[in-house]
């Protein structure tokens, strides 16, 4: 695999029971790039994202065809432990979902249980919270419940929680759709900062957001990858009419 590519999909099909949610997807994700997945509801972008860290395994009756290579290994090979994959490919969800624990324990939870980066937890907690630009707001209340934080703070806490595992890739499933504009701006700044060290793949409904923060953009429609290119190109001169219709708001 080329050095600047971190994930490669070869002819991936995905089924919920009998119905096919993704059709013959082949694409690559660049290392230390921000890739945005856009498209109307039900187009399969979230499904694709959750394929990358095997979160779809949790749903009964799903089936994957094709291969998804991460570090040259098919993450759906029978000898691969999905738990190991998820340690390297972190995820931030649509709705902030901190554990009903203290702020400190939210961050320390993963490293403590997995033994990954569990050396000096205090330093790790501080480091992760600084990375997600939450440290100054919470440094005096680390032992308070995370449920008392605002939505935007909770989401940055969830990002810090994922970062504490020191993943290679951060998957973000519409991370700002439940947040107000100020919190959204903070998260977008954060993504800009994080891409120096991480590969970020983000699903978003917000096209301005995709245009603002991503290097590459992939447009999905009813389970097909319609167009995939540099973000600049997609938003200025898309090759496919459907893409243009979607980004100009003619449908979706």
């Amino acid at each position: 695999m080329e050095t600047n590519i971190i994930i490669k999909l070869n002819n991936v099909n995905f089924y919920y029971g009998q119905s096919r949610a993704l059709t013959d997807i082949s694409m690559t994700f660049g290392k230390n790039k921000v890739t945005a997945l856009i498209g109307p509801s039900g187009c399969g972008k979230s499904t694709l994202l959750r394929l990358l860290n095997r979160m779809n395994d949790l749903i009964d009756g799903t089936r994957v065809e094709g291969e998804i290579l991460f570090e040259d290994k098919n993450i759906y090979a029978p000898d691969i432990d999905p738990v190991e994959i998820r340690r390297k490919i972190g995820m931030v969800f649509q709705k902030p979902n901190p554990f009903p624990k203290t702020i400190y324990n939210n961050i320390a939870y993963g490293p403590k249980l997995t033994g990954v980066n569990a050396g000096d937890l205090d330093t790790l907690v501080e480091q992760s919270l600084k990375q997600s630009v939450l440290w100054n707001e919470v440094k005096d209340i680390l032992n308070k419940s995370a449920m008392n934080l605002s939505g935007g703070q909770q989401q940055r806490l969830c990002i810090a929680r994922a970062l504490a595992m020191k993943p290679d890739i951060l998957l973000m499933d519409e991370p700002t759709s439940a947040l107000d504009p100020i919190s959204t701006a903070k998260i977008e700044d954060l993504i800009e900062e994080l891409k120096k060290d991480y590969t970020i793949i983000i699903v978003t409904h917000n096209m301005q957001q995709a245009a603002r923060i991503s290097d590459e953009t992939a447009f999905f429609y009813i389970g097909n990858l319609v167009e995939y290119n540099k973000t600049e190109k997609i938003f200025t001169k898309p090759d496919v009419k459907q893409t243009e219709d979607y980004i100009t708001g003619r449908f979706g």
């Binding site: 738990v83 340690r87 972190g90």
Partner: protein
């Protein structure tokens, strides 16, 4: 038009009052019934209660003395039933909700559990007699009685645990798994702690039932009279519900034991409430920092 409106409004208010009245009356009847029973027991039983009554064994063919061995026996049996029923019930519920593939087999198991809940308690008693007492050779003992009571309250505990586990938001599971934490750890570190208050709430019902049942223990654990306190889990015990049953039906002098019967009933009610109270305290302690 105005008068029509007023009348229709009045009629609606009236209907509302009648309806609220009925609902209120229902609640009142239940409270009165409960209060009546408690009052009757306390009124008739309080006279028998004394320090000797709860700390001394019976004497003079049960017509005098205390009921200490029966109190102790009921506590042993109830604690035994909890020790067997709670882990087994929670484990079954974890399997059914977290691990088992939802489908025909799980549905079949759930139907089975519901049927178990409807089985009369005397059937559990006979099963305990046949299986634990005779086949497993435990004899009539605390062990056999606790196992029988444990199985009796199992459906209640499984049902309560299932509901409690299901009410833990799926997003907690996803968050934990997405960090590369194993399913086993996720279940034990995130799902179970958040479900425990709910599990206990439901289990309180079962625990109260275990303490109060007569039929399951009459063949498996309870003795009419023991001259000394049990020394091991293989000994027979006296138990409050069985003691009441015996005094009220089979004593040599039923009338003479009447005050003791009421006293024993009062103590049984107090023990059940005491067990419930402990569970409630534990639950509220665990609930303190739960909010989502």
């Amino acid at each position: 038009m105005n008068t029509f409106n007023n009348n229709s409004m009045k009629w609606r208010y009236l209907k509302q009052h009648i309806f609220f009245g009925l609902v209120r009356a229902s609640a009142l009847i239940i409270t009165l019934a409960l209060g009546g029973i408690i009052f009757y027991i306390v009124y008739n039983g309080i006279g028998a209660i004394s320090w000797d009554f709860i700390t001394k064994p019976p004497t003079d063919s049960m017509t005098k003395g205390g009921i200490m061995p029966a109190i102790l026996g009921t506590i042993y049996l109830t604690v035994g039933a909890i020790a067997i029923g709670l882990p087994l019930g929670i484990a079954s519920a974890i399997y059914l909700t977290e691990y088992a593939k939802q489908g025909r087999i799980v549905r079949f198991i759930k139907v089975g559990i519901n049927c178990l809940a409807g089985v009369p308690s005397v059937v559990f008693g006979l099963f305990g007699l046949g299986f634990f007492v005779i086949l497993m050779k435990f004899g009539s003992s605390i062990l056999a009685g606790s196992l029988t009571l444990g199985f009796l309250i199992l459906p209640t505990i499984i049902g309560a645990s299932e509901e409690a586990l299901k009410s833990v938001p799926q997003t907690f599971r996803e968050a934990s798994l997405s960090l590369g934490v194993s399913k086993w750890q996720t279940t034990f570190r995130i799902v179970l702690p958040n479900a425990l208050p709910g599990i206990l709430t439901g289990s309180i019902l079962g625990i109260g039932r275990a303490a109060g049942e007569t039929a399951p223990i009459m063949f498996t654990a309870a003795a009419y009279f023991t001259s000394k306190l049990p020394g091991s889990i293989f000994d027979e015990v006296m138990a409050l519900p069985y003691h009441i049953y015996v005094l009220a039906t089979a004593g040599t002098n039923i009338e003479a034991t009447r005050p003791i019967q009421f006293g024993t009933v009062l103590v049984l009610v107090a023990v059940v409430l005491g067990i419930d109270l402990v569970a409630i305290v534990i639950r509220s302690y665990m609930r303190r920092n739960k909010r989502w």
